[in-house]
């Protein structure tokens, strides 16, 4: 393999990984607070369609990303109201959020189909990215750098800050956190809104980096991969980064191997496509086989908070 091709593969894989990473980072924080939001795919679609609409109307990429984050966070708060304030079933409500997002984005996106969206390009001067080796560092969309910064920020927040500790306490034992005076529901609302905003920004990646257009169901299931990835990464931000890039690598190698043809096509096409999911199942099996040590999932994950009962 030539250097140029290796660089090309890296650049493509980073693009493919970024939306999954962003969405999974948001979901990681949500799940750390003890809430399981299966609506990632729907929130990503809302983010994607809002991005396209705002870019086409105003031409401002940054405003578009902001609006996408706010819109998806608003959708997440609907989920939050139902599951946190009304104690509805989180799995069912999350699935409903995906259906809502799919439907809303299809309806709202109708005027914007059939139009090309300008890409959000690297923030660095083009001379820096002219050389292929430097392009690996400077050649990406700002959303890529943002996703990498957020890995560190979220790791730092969860591990090093008092607020992060409270969030984890709420996720691990909501009744104890409540009894020493932490606002369990309030913390979870914030986490859910943050997860929505990140999913919305993940949705922005589709029209701004990957495929600059709006079309119904643009994200084609990447939100579900993000959900699987959180489990794959056992709720740790840096493993999430590795996992997202591993998933991206598998998805990217698939098309590059097929394009190379000949001996590179070692695996059947369907198996390539199934690999990220097989890897997730494998990790789940490995996690559950670990003896002794505490289970990796936040202890209150998916359970409604009912302090009086």
């Amino acid at each position: 393999m030539t250097l140029d091709l290796a660089i090309a593969i890296i650049i493509t894989l980073v693009g493919a990984s970024t939306p999954i990473l962003l969405a999974a980072l948001g979901e990681l924080v949500v799940e750390k607070s003890g809430v399981l939001n299966l609506g990632v795919e729907g929130m990503m679609l809302i983010g994607a369609v809002i991005t396209v609409a705002v870019v086409l109307v105003t031409g401002n990429h940054w405003l578009a990303i902001l609006c996408a984050a706010l819109a998806a966070a608003a959708a997440a708060l609907i989920f939050g109201f139902l599951t946190l304030s009304l104690s509805a079933n989180q799995v069912a409500t999350g699935l409903a959020l995906t259906i809502l997002g799919t439907g809303f984005s299809a309806l709202f996106g109708q005027p914007y189909t059939g139009k090309a969206v300008p890409l959000l390009r690297s923030p660095f001067p083009p001379e820096l990215a002219a050389d292929p080796v430097w392009r690996v560092i400077f050649g990406y969309s700002p959303l890529v750098y943002f996703s990498l910064i957020m890995v560190v920020v979220i790791w730092w927040f969860l591990k090093k800050t008092r607020a992060g500790l409270i969030l984890r306490a709420v996720g691990e034992n909501d009744l104890s956190a409540h009894s020493i005076g932490y606002p369990v529901i309030g913390v979870r609302y914030l986490a859910v809104a943050f997860g929505g905003a990140m999913a919305g920004i993940a949705g922005s990646c589709f029209p701004l980096i990957l495929t600059p257009q709006w079309v119904e169901r643009l994200t084609t299931g990447r939100g579900w991969i993000a959900l699987a990835l959180v489990v794959f990464a056992v709720w740790r931000p840096f493993r999430l980064l590795g996992g997202a890039y591993l998933f991206g690598l598998v998805m990217t190698l698939e098309v590059y191997a097929k394009a190379a043809g000949g001996g590179f096509r070692v695996l059947p096409s369907e198996l390539w496509a199934a690999l990220p999911y097989l890897a997730t199942i494998l990790v789940l099996v490995l996690i559950s086989m670990r003896r002794g040590g505490s289970s990796s999932a936040p202890a209150c994950l998916g359970k409604p908070f009912l302090p009086t009962s």
Partner: protein, 360 residues
């Protein structure tokens, strides 16, 4: 018209079943109800757009006073589609178009239960007394764009992004490859299957992978312009619209398009319902009858290339050129079609090899 999604359809279906006598009372002559079942949405600018454009053309020609259409979008190929077909039949649709290959088993199953309802299965391969099949010879269009690709490529490496390795796609690849190598024997044809009819991000990544490996002309057999947009961004020689004109997405790289024109067929078959002459059959037309059209040529294509492409198109329309005329070798070097012979319409569906020059 009414646009329904699967869920509302099922609800409305329940209501309609409860009130079977309401419909049609107010009309002097009852409108014939025709349904279109789509795998995606009409705004994909590709396959589904083509069918919906055909529907509108039919409505226009036959008249909204005589026909009423229902469009059901986003119906997955699978058991779910069976319910949709049954609901549509129960609602009194006289003719139901199933516009994707994977609906076949379910169309046939429901058709047996509703012998008075006619079904037409696009790209299908089996008929029944009330199930017809209709298809278009897209491979004739592939021969035209293959000619352009063969003459325009600078790297002698062109590509075909396929959905699934089914006969229709394989023969599209072969028609593209044979035509390209006729004008440029040095050309190689790389094939990537994305295992989906619709996955824009993956189609775009496939295009990136191909361009990174030396491809400079891409055609695709999926439902959207994602690959063309990558071609535009990378500034390669170009690509082709599939199903509809996609030049809005890639003004510099959109060389031309293979346009599906289902309208004339829909007019004919709805008219036969109105006349009571509908019969089981199989329709497979191409460039000659206008079901397959070639779009506008990009102005960057040199005049001699346009002339060569037009000649292929006109010769196919006139019947003097067959896209699969021998001698044809496969990509392992074995002769598959002798000189003077052709792959006829019957043999077409059994071809399981790729033509010379295809890397798949």
């Amino acid at each position: 018209m009414t646009v329904l999604n699967r869920r509302t359809l099922i609800k409305i279906g329940g209501a309609a079943a409860a009130l079977p006598l309401v419909g049609g009372v107010a009309f002097a002559q009852e409108k014939v109800k025709v349904a279109f079942v789509l795998i995606g949405t009409p705004d994909d600018n590709g396959w589904n757009f083509g069918h919906d454009t055909g529907r509108k053309y039919m409505l226009d020609k036959i008249g909204a006073d005589k026909v009423e259409t229902t469009v059901v979008t986003n119906v997955a190929e699978g058991p779910d589609s069976e319910r949709v077909f049954r609901e549509l039949a129960q609602q009194g649709h006289k003719l139901i178009y199933a516009t994707s290959f994977g609906y076949g088993d379910y169309v046939h199953k429901v058709a047996k239960q509703f012998p008075d309802v006619k079904f037409e299965w696009a790209t299908g391969n089996a008929t029944a007394p009330n199930v017809s099949i209709y298809n278009a010879k897209f491979h004739e269009g592939r021969a035209v764009v293959g000619t352009i690709a063969g003459m325009m490529t600078k790297t002698n490496t062109i590509a075909y992004i396929g959905s699934f390795p089914i006969p229709e796609v394989r023969m599209g690849i072969n028609a593209y490859a044979i035509a390209a190598r006729k004008v440029n024997p040095a050309v190689k044809i790389k094939v990537v299957y994305v295992d989906s009819w619709f996955d824009p991000a993956k189609e775009a990544d496939a295009a990136r992978a191909l361009i990174d490996q030396g491809v400079d002309v891409i055609t695709q057999h999926t439902d959207g312009p994602a690959a063309l947009q990558v071609a535009e961004e990378r500034g390669i020689v170009g690509g082709f619209g599939q199903g509809a004109d996609m030049s809005a997405f890639a003004p510099k790289s959109h060389l031309t398009a293979i346009i599906d024109n289902w309208g004339p067929h829909y007019v004919k078959s709805v008219q036969s319902i109105l006349d009571g002459t509908w019969a089981e059959g199989s329709v497979w037309d191409g460039i000659a009858s206008g079901e397959v059209e070639i779009g506008k040529y990009n102005e960057k294509i040199p005049a001699d290339v346009v002339a060569a492409a037009e000649k292929v198109k006109n010769d196919i329309a006139a019947g003097t050129l067959h896209p699969f005329a021998g001698p044809i070798k496969d990509n392992a070097g074995a002769e598959r079609v002798a000189a003077g012979d052709v792959i006829d319409d019957g043999e077409f569906w059994a071809v399981d090899w790729y033509a010379e020059g295809v890397e798949a």
